[in-house]
């Protein structure tokens, strides 16, 4: 019944479709590893999307656009950092407020930018790799951001598991009191993690407004930030699994449409909810699915 769907082409589309959520999710993964739950991913993504779009259109350079998106996302996350780390506000409520704020901000900034096309992002010139039969079109004919997303995941994996900085970050996330006792700057580590998360969410958003759509439309992220949150959990806070998770979530969404196009009747809703149910199962089954010890808890050094 899947005869008319080409799995290789599907994979190629997937690499592109999953990129925004890969960015947003890897950022949030670092944030959560540091023990902070930022539910404002959607707000940071869409702010990044609009900042990136405006900068790219103004300068004509998609590269500067992505840089602008990262700055925009990080700037918004700074608000979250200030509130939760210095003023010790509740992270869940602050994150939700951040989403509301970000959606409003993006919509306001985006007024007057409707109907313009962003400068196009060329494919990465991978030379002969592009022409490898079968693999070439699937793996090596994408824009640079697709590869950057995967590289960031690799980098985060390396950072978390192979560097002292990563060790400190994990220590802060697992037990902030102990980390503090050892002399680590809990708040500083967390603020940096939050900024990284904001920048990555911004990049993910800009991938939508500069590559996938590429015009500015109000509400462009349409819930992608929430999916990113789910993927972090599904991945049980591991960068490698995160990529698989993003492809799986993206894949189910894509497959549903592919099956329709191929003339197969599908129960759309059941297919769409399956990754979330799978995520819950992952949480239950894997002991490694244990969340960072201090996830969502405020830290105050009480001397």
């Amino acid at each position: 019944m899947f005869g008319s769907i080409d799995p290789l082409l599907l994979l190629a589309s997937l690499m592109v479709a999953a990129t925004p959520i890969v960015f947003a999710a890897i950022g949030e993964l670092v944030v959560e590893r540091a023990g902070v739950l930022n539910l404002g991913v959607e707000g940071m993504m869409i702010t990044g999307a609009v900042c990136g779009f405006i900068v790219a259109v103004q300068t004509g350079s998609p590269l500067l656009g992505f840089a602008g998106a990262a700055v925009g996302g990080a700037a918004l996350s700074l608000l979250f950092a200030a509130l939760t780390q210095y003023l010790l506000s509740n992270q869940v409520a602050t994150g939700l407020a951040l989403t509301l704020f970000g959606l409003g901000l993006a919509s306001l900034l985006g007024q007057g930018w409707v109907g313009i096309r962003a400068p196009s992002v060329p494919d990465l010139p991978l030379g002969p790799l592009r022409d490898i039969p079968v693999l070439g079109p699937v793996l090596f004919r994408h824009d640079p951001m697709v590869y950057l997303g995967l590289l960031v995941c690799l980098g985060v994996w390396w950072f978390l598991n192979r560097t002292r900085g990563g060790l400190i970050l994990r220590a802060v996330g697992d037990n902030h009191d102990a980390a503090h006792a050892l002399g680590y700057r809990v708040v500083r580590v967390r603020v940096l993690a939050i900024l990284f998360g904001g920048a990555m969410a911004g990049l993910g958003g800009a991938y939508l407004s500069l590559v996938r759509v590429p015009t500015w439309t109000d509400g462009i992220t349409a819930g992608a930030g929430w999916i990113a949150l789910a993927i972090v959990v599904f991945a049980s806070w591991r960068p490698g699994r995160l990529v698989i998770g993003a492809y799986l979530f993206g894949g189910v969404a894509q497959l549903q449409l592919n099956l329709q196009a191929a003339g197969v009747r599908v129960p759309v809703e059941i297919l769409s909810m399956s990754p979330y149910i799978a995520t819950i199962l992952v949480l239950v089954l894997l002991s490694a699915g244990r969340a960072p010890g201090c996830l969502g808890r405020s830290f105050h050094a009480a001397r």
């Binding site: 919509s107 930018w113 996938r212 500015w216 449409l257 009747r265």
Partner: protein, 361 residues
């Protein structure tokens, strides 16, 4: 569900039209608009807002417009409508199907205020009118162009919801593509959204992987255009707005919602005291459905054929649903020369003969 469509012209005109007295000339008419999305959606709401701006342009000081964006259907809509009426609006346009009950509820409480509900059919009181556009007329034109342009003989269609308006569009474009190219097949993907860029891009990709090289869409974002541009050698059509940023290819023409003529006509009627509770279903001839610039990527003879069709539809010489047309299962629907009635169109829930696949339910 977000916004709109569906209409039954039916016996609504049974209500005696309430003839308002001409309003005093010096006081501007206050016109309210309720939008389901943000103006920045670049599609459905954007086009209604363009209609509002055209009103201001046309009437100058004689009108004052107020509007509210992103009003969720349901209780919030009823509150916003009431607030508008209280603020002294003389006439209110509610621009989404989901406002149907709210519009009629509030209209019952404000008999002196006129209400105009887009794409609905319920007119419970004489101060409610309904209006919609015959998008299927435009789809006939772009279906013709699509039939000529496809090399693979596979046309893709991104549907929003399986409701009569969308099904009309699919059938209309398919019939006309087939007419000029008997080998054409149409592949439909239902996105279950009016606007969701990422999902629309995915839908376009899914169609492209099936060998489709012309994509029609009934969703409002430009994401399918971008996907087509990236794939190359694929043609698309602008939807709701012109999507001119994607000219000359992949966007080779567009089907534009132009509400300005209707809005101007209705406000004029209100000023003249001739406003009535009517149902208006305007099409190409009324200027409500516009075909945007057909670019040079389309061969001249195809363009000429499309323009001829636009003229014929506008003059009433041609109706896109003219028999013989059979339903998908082969049962006859319209006999030779028979033209579909509006009642038949607004309850359309089947594909025509030659379409593959089923309408989901």
């Amino acid at each position: 569900m977000k916004r709109r469509t569906l209409l039954i012209s039916g016996a609504g005109t049974a209500f005696a039209a309430a003839l308002g007295s001409p309003l005093r000339a010096q006081e501007p008419i206050k016109v309210g608009f309720v939008y389901v999305g943000p103006i920045g959606d670049g599609g459905w709401t954007y086009q209604h807002n363009e209609g509002r701006l055209a009103l201001e342009e046309h009437f100058g000081d004689q009108v004052e417009t107020i509007y509210q964006e992103s009003v969720p259907e349901g209780p919030d809509a009823e509150r916003v409508l009431t607030q508008m009426a209280l603020q002294g609006a003389d006439i209110i346009f509610t621009t989404s199907f989901g406002y149907m009950e709210a519009t009629n509820n509030v209209a019952a409480q404000f008999p002196d205020v006129k209400f105009e509900h887009a794409t609905g059919y319920m007119r419970n009181t004489p101060n409610v009118a309904t209006y919609d556009a015959r998008f299927y007329e435009g789809r006939a034109v772009i279906g013709t162009i699509a039939g000529h342009m496809t090399q693979t003989n596979k046309i893709g269609y991104i549907g929003s919801f399986p409701i009569p308006e969308v099904i009309q569009g699919i059938n209309s474009s398919f019939l006309h593509a087939r007419k000029v190219n008997p080998d054409v097949e149409m592949v439909v993907v239902w996105a279950y959204t009016w606007i969701d860029p990422a999902k629309e891009a995915d839908a376009a990709k899914a169609l492209l992987e099936q060998g489709v090289d012309v994509i029609l869409q009934h969703t409002d974002s430009t994401a399918p255009q971008a996907a087509a541009a990236e794939a190359g050698n694929v043609y698309t059509f602008g939807q709701a707005s012109d999507m001119a940023a994607f000219k000359p290819t992949p966007r080779i023409a567009s089907i534009i919602d132009n509400w300005a003529p209707y809005y101007i006509e209705r406000i004029q009627a209100l000023m003249d005291g001739t406003w009535e509770s009517t149902h208006t279903w305007g099409g190409i001839g009324d200027g409500e459905v516009e075909i945007g610039e057909i670019t040079d990527a389309v061969p001249a003879e195809v363009k000429a054929e499309a323009e001829q069709m636009i003229a014929d539809i506008a003059s009433g010489a041609y109706h896109p649903f003219t028999g013989p047309i059979n339903k998908q299962d082969g049962t006859p629907w319209l006999a030779e020369g028979e033209v579909a009635t509006d009642e038949q169109l607004v309850s359309m829930d089947f594909y025509v003969e030659g379409m593959t696949g089923e309408i989901p339910n």
